[in-house]
């Protein structure tokens, strides 16, 4: 955690640069908006159902997982109202995957823009993540419909939801900055990320409950609280847990996890942004 404090302040000459870049980005907010719109438009342009897919897709996935896991999960691990439980985890996870995988290609895929016109390059990954955010928000229609159908308990803590979404967006954006930069120099990033995201999916309690992690596990003579460590090491586990707390259980979420995840997300975001602007000058000649 100490190292986290170093990142924004250590390179003294970088701070004003980062600030300048942020100012420039604000001037170009219209471009970010247009890139988001064009990405959404381009995605659904040739499809018959258009944006309805944003709703159909999570529904279909919910169906698949429910069917599969009703066979796989033992009685011990069975979760009440499984489709709802699943949806509360699957939607945020889908948002995260789509945002990360979409923005890995955001700079490379727009090579003709980057090579031929100037604009703050960070607009590309930002637009990539924001386009997915729009999709995610659309999918909440499905989620709230499911909440009503399952007569879930709407708690007053629901107002925390926008904050959780914001934290997740910051985290996804930070990762998007790092990966989109790496992908310019090493195209393998994309391939590696395919595998990593798959592993990450199974390590995160999306289709199963975090209860499956043992509280106390004997490892090399130490008693390890696997569940706690899973949350600490995997910000996505904490994030999805928060969504479940707020939406599925209708309870308040753990302040401890909440703060830690916030800090992690901000650190990743600031480091990612610093990393991105450090190398973005070279994009024009590397592509």
């Amino acid at each position: 955690m100490l190292a986290n404090h170093n990142i924004p302040t250590k390179p003294m000459r970088q701070t004003p640069v980062m600030f300048q870049r942020l100012q420039e980005l604000v001037r170009y907010r219209e471009l970010v908006r247009n890139l988001v719109v064009s990405e959404l438009k381009a995605r659904y342009k040739a499809s018959v159902l258009g944006f309805v897919w944003s709703l159909l897709n999570p529904l279909a996935m919910m169906l698949v997982f429910t069917v599969v896991f009703s066979f796989l999960l033992t009685d011990k691990n069975r979760v009440e109202k499984y489709p709802l439980f699943l949806l509360c985890g699957l939607l945020p996870w889908n948002y995260f995957t789509a945002a990360v995988m979409g923005s890995v290609q955001s700079v490379v895929g727009n090579a003709n823009l980057v090579k031929k016109v100037y604009f703050p390059r960070e607009a590309l990954p930002i637009a990539g993540v924001l386009a997915q955010l729009v999709n995610f928000l659309l999918a909440f229609i499905v989620l709230f419909a499911a909440l009503l159908i399952f007569r879930a308990h709407f708690s007053p803590w629901l107002w925390l939801l926008p904050l959780v979404i914001l934290i997740q967006t910051c985290f996804a954006l930070g990762i998007a900055f790092i990966l989109s930069t790496l992908n310019v120099f090493y195209r393998d990033t994309m391939m590696i990320m395919d595998v990593i995201m798959l592993a990450w999916f199974f390590l995160t309690p999306v289709v199963y409950s975090a209860e499956a992690f043992p509280r106390a596990y004997q490892l090399l003579g130490y008693i390890v609280d696997v569940r706690r460590w899973a949350y600490i090491l995997n910000p996505m586990a904490s994030l999805i847990n928060m969504y479940r707390d707020l939406l599925f259980l209708g309870s308040r979420t753990d302040l401890d996890f909440f703060l830690r995840t916030t800090i992690t997300a901000l650190v990743v975001l600031i480091f990612g942004y610093w990393f991105f602007i450090r190398y973005s000058d070279r994009f024009g000649e590397e592509l």
């Binding site: 170009y28 219209e30 247009n34 064009s38 090493y186 000649e285």
Partner: protein, 437 residues
């Protein structure tokens, strides 16, 4: 190295300042684009030599608001790299770069367009790349669509556009967003003649309104017509900068000399006697063994400028004594038009008897030919034009480059002088305004 970009231009201050700016590209023999290759490289320890390439070296220029700079130079001389650095696409390797104001750049065909979006959507996207708000774009979009002459195509995805349509739309957006600085790299050449004229008119208007322009073009005429300064870049170095006529003169002289050296190096000394019979015939009683095109100092060249003096010297050898031969020459334009055919008889020079070897010369005080490639034929015939001693049919080529003459149309200049004559009856009294200057 420092790069400063100001969003707004300060009045009276330069828009662009480059101090000793250089740019280096590393030319990877093989590009190590993947982890695998990088990994292998660690073990091989083969240091793949990275060739360096400097598209620009030590460039310093200052551009003030209202300037219109034409940039000339051969392909690969660094012109586009310069524009890309000014626009911000490439960072300089060393030197200081300061750019102020809002830039529109037309560097490549369809740059800043998204192929899946319609023309209209792309206008907004392109506008936001130039930093224009959606609100402002909505006000000018009708003008843009009208200007680009796209008609119903404006609501078609632009991947279906022709290259001319790309350029029209790109230029329409760039010029209507009223940038402080506009960078144009040769793309206008894609449009048809009518649109090019329209572009030129718009650029003139943009300039009159105080706009600043950097224009890369191979069309020297266009540059001469709009620019107040010209920058000549060769091998990444600024060769000359200044008044358009001066820079273009030295540019053209440089290429004329280069071309000359190249052609002289390729010339076969025995060329003369080995010409194919199709281009060379005659009885051979008099042979023209060598033809020289000389300048005022008597030095042989193959490149001249309009208005230069030129002397054609014919070296001949005669077998025996020939009575009253006629030496003549003919000049054809490279596209075939026969321009003139002077000879000694027309010129009033009688050669009673020709024996052995000698030189006949035709002196042109001021070359009337306009820029282009020309072919020279030589003939030696007898008095009655019944016998051809030697004939070189269009065997000698030479080039004419524009000199001080501004004339562009046709093949020759008649060296006429334009005057205004005042008819006391028809002309209304001239107001003082005419003499104000």
């Amino acid at each position: 190295m420092s790069v400063i970009r100001n969003a707004k231009a300060t009045p009276g201050q330069p828009l662009i300042e480059l101090h000793h700016v250089s740019k280096r590209f590393a030319m990877h023999r093989e590009r190590h684009r993947s982890f695998q290759e990088s990994f292998i490289r660690i073990f091989r320890k083969s240091h793949t030599a990275q060739d360096e390439f400097w598209p620009l070296r030590d460039v310093s220029i200052t551009i003030y608001p209202g300037d219109c700079i034409g940039i000339i130079g051969r392909n690969g001389s660094g012109k586009s790299t310069l524009l890309k650095m000014i626009s911000g696409i490439l960072p300089p390797t060393s030197g200081d770069l300061t750019v102020s104001g809002r830039i529109s750049a037309l560097l490549e065909l369809g740059a800043g367009f998204h192929p899946d979006l319609t023309g209209r959507e792309n206008v907004y996207l392109n506008g936001s790349i130039y930093g224009i708000s959606r609100q402002k774009m909505s006000q000018i979009i009708d003008k843009i669509i009208d200007y680009a002459e796209l008609g119903d195509f404006i609501d078609t995805p632009i991947k279906h556009y022709s290259s001319g349509m790309y350029v029209r739309l790109g230029f329409a957006v760039a010029i209507h967003t009223e940038p402080d600085l506009m960078l144009v790299d040769e793309v206008l050449a894609v449009g048809d003649a009518a649109f090019q004229r329209k572009c030129m008119d718009s650029i003139q208007l943009y300039r009159r309104q105080g706009g600043t322009l950097l224009l890369v073009s191979h069309d020297l005429g266009a540059i001469q017509a709009i620019c107040n300064r010209v920058l000549w870049i060769e091998d990444g170095v600024i060769q000359a900068e200044g008044h358009p006529t001066d820079v273009m003169m030295s540019y053209q002289r440089y290429y004329a000399e280069l071309e000359e050296a190249r052609q002289l190096a390729h010339q076969d000394p025995q060329d003369d006697s080995e010409k194919s019979s199709k281009q060379r015939w005659g009885t051979g009683q008099i042979r023209v063994t060598k033809v020289e095109l000389c300048d005022a100092k008597g030095e042989a060249h193959i490149n001249f400028r309009t208005g230069d003096p030129m002397t054609v010297r014919l070296h001949y050898e005669a077998k025996g004594a020939i009575e009253e031969p006629i030496f003549g020459l003919a000049i054809h334009h490279q596209q075939g038009t026969h321009i003139c055919g002077p000879n000694t008889k027309f010129g009033g020079l009688t050669l009673p008897l020709v024996e052995g070897s000698g030189i006949i010369s035709y002196v042109i005080p001021s070359l009337a030919l306009l820029a282009g490639g020309y072919l020279l034929s030589i003939a030696v015939i007898n008095q009655n034009n019944t016998e051809t001693f030697d004939y070189h049919d269009r065997t000698i080529t030479f080039h004419v480059y524009p000199g001080d003459s501004q004339e562009q149309y046709g093949l020759v200049t008649l060296n006429g002088v334009w005057q205004r004559e005042f008819d006391p009856i028809l002309t209304p009294p001239v107001t003082e305004k005419y003499y104000a200057r």
